[in-house]
Structures are given as C-alpha cells and as structure tokens.
Subunit: 116 residues, 4 copies
C-alpha cells in the first residue's frame, strides 16, 4: 500500500482514459472485429482486445473505490494497453483503438509511478 | 430479441448516463457513505448503491457489445436506479447520486421501450 | 422488491449454475470458438456467448450481495442462456455449453418465480 | 507475455481458489460486515473486502480467457488477498474469509511464478 500523492485531477484524467479505452476496445472488438473477420478475429489479437477492455474496466473500478492497489493495477493495465495497441497497429481500421490504448497506457504509467 | 430501432445518438446518450450513474454510485458508496457511516452504511441502502453501480456497469457492457438483450437489461437497470434514488433521497449529501440515478433511469426506460 | 422465499440451498444451487455457465461460455468462446473460426465467430453467435458469460457473472454478483433485484436479473439471465443454448446447438463441439446454459436457464427461472 | 508452463490442473486450481475467494469476500462484506457494523464497515477494511472480491473476479476472467497477462494479474491478486486476510484477522467472525484469502494468495503466487 502507498501514500497516494496524485492529485484529484490526475486521478480523474486516468479514470477518463481507462473508461475511454474500455469502451473503445469493447465496442471495436464486438462490432468492427467480428464483422471484418480474418486477422481481426485471430485468437491472440481478439484476446488482447477483450483483456484490455476488462483490465481498463477493473482499473476504473479500483480508482473510483479509492483502492490502495490502484497503482499496482494501473501498472498491469499500462502493459496490456501497449500490447493491445501493438496488435491493433498491425491491422486495418483500428486507429481509434491504437490512440485510446496509447493514451491510457501513458496515463496509467503516470498513475503507477505517482503513488509509489 | 428485438429489431433495434434506437438511433446511435440515443444509445450513446444511454451509455453515457449509465457510465455516469455507475461512477457516481460507486464513488459515493465507497468514499462518502463509508466515511459518514450511520444510515449511510445501513445494509438496504448500501446494497442498493452497489447494485446500482454494478447493473449500470453491466448495461454499458451489453450496449457497447451490441447485445440483443440491452433492452431487457435496461428495463431492470431503470428499476434499480429508481430504487437507489429513492433511498438516497432519505439521506444527507446524496444529491449528486439522486440526480445521476434519475437521469439514468429515464434514459434506460426510453431505451427499453424503443427496442420493443 | 420482493419477499425472498427461496431457501439458502436453492440460492446456492442457482449461484453454482450461473458460475458454471459463466465459466463454460467464456472459456469456450475465447478458446474453442476463436480457434475453430468460421460459424463459431459469426457475430450473432459470439455476442451471445459473451453476453451469456457476462449476465451470469452479474447474476452471481447480485445473488451473493443479497440484492433485492436478483429475481429480475435471473429472469433476463434465463432468456440469454436459452438464446445462447439455441445458438450453440447449431454448431459443432458446443455440447458442454448447451448443457451449462440449459441448466442455468432452468435454475434462474425457478429463482425468478420463487421470489415474486 | 510469457510461455505458459503451468499445467491445466494447476490453472484449474487457481481459478477455483479465486472463485471461492471472490464469492466469500463479496458475500461476507455485503451480508456479515454490513449487518455487524462498527469496525466491519471501517473504510479501510471494507474497501479491501470489495477490492479483493473484484480482483479475484477479474483474475478468474483472465485465466478463463487464456490471457497472456494472467500472471501479472495473479501477482497483484496475491497482494490484495494477503492484505485482506490481514485486515480480516483483526476482526471477529471473519475466519472463513481469512482462509479463502490465504489459499487464493498462495495459488496466485504459484501461478505468477510458473509462467515467468
């Protein structure tokens, strides 16, 4: 557990980035990827999309709850977001997802450092 | 299952209302209610706060996924939101939660009707 | 809200059925369906698999929490489980999922009736 | 990402331990702790109970999904479970929760190591 030194504004920004990444990944996986098929439903890629949505959703939950473990989860979240962005960059039509994942990864890394 | 006749804008509005209600209920339950204590941690009230957060989170998930059962879940979500708003109205300092729950209930009822 | 008249054993059985259905649908969607491809990743089918996993997970959450809205959610859960079972019956290698969904639908319908 | 070297049996055991811990923490928080009140609804303790339930639920989700990040999440899960067990040991009537948390922490630590 940590002494939380992040400002309310910084945490609000991280919650917003995670919410946006959660929504974008889930919506694109279930609508864009399933409709396009092919590489978009390859197991490794699709699993990363769903993992990323779920971890971001959990990160939002812990931050809103005032959890002492938000930093630890944000650290994992940043890793998943970067892996998802890498996978999306290799496919067509996933620019919105790449942008959401990179922004979330950056915000989560700042959060993970601030509270350690 | 239903023919979805709601516009993208209306669904976007419902997702936003559910997201806001989810965040407000969870944050207030875990921060405000647990700190204030007394009536705010009475089992019936606190359970409604957490139920409401969870149902709204699930409603967001189904709508983003393009689920055929979004209307059925929105119907339950509207009921939980109204019950949570009623409970919050009997306590001090819960105005933000009342407003978020009422707005979400209204949006979910519109969603539930539109697709039937 | 309802007078809960279900026994602890009946609720335990419903929680177990929902947990099993959640686990089976999620595991088969992300492992079996994504690997097999073709009809198994058709949007309608795959969305039902993921919906079913999520609704069952939420049903478990509400029942464990002692929610007053467990019956309403179990009613929706039974509908999703039956739709998912119907979809799985049209595909190869989904017998375990059909069985888990049918058992969960039956248990959820009993739960939904008992508390009304 | 890692080469997964854990056996199916070991992962099954970890999923079961996380499921049991998730169910036990959530049920005891929302039923036992809210009913007993006093120290049981002190913010630090109650937040740990809900964090632990949520992280275990997410750990189950990632493992069932075949996620490449199960190990990273299990590492965080083990830390939360131990903190929750420590908190529960200082209160009356929480023996079942202590046992579920310790067993889950041990299983998650094995999982986190096995795949690195």
């Amino acid at each position: 557990m940590h002494t939380h030194t992040m400002s309310q504004d910084e945490m609000k920004a991280c919650i917003d980035a995670c919410t946006n990444c959660h929504h974008t990944c889930l919506q694109m996986a279930m609508n864009h990827c399933l409709r396009v098929g092919g590489n978009h439903v390859e197991q490794g890629h699709f699993t990363l999309m769903m993992d990323c949505a779920r971890i971001c959703e959990t990160s939002v939950h812990l931050q809103l709850s005032g959890s002492s473990f938000s930093a630890e989860l944000c650290d994992v979240c940043a890793q998943v977001c970067d892996a998802c962005a890498d996978s999306c960059e290799r496919l067509d039509g996933m620019d919105a997802c790449v942008a959401a994942c990179r922004a979330c990864a950056e915000s989560c890394r700042a959060m993970a450092k601030a509270v350690h």
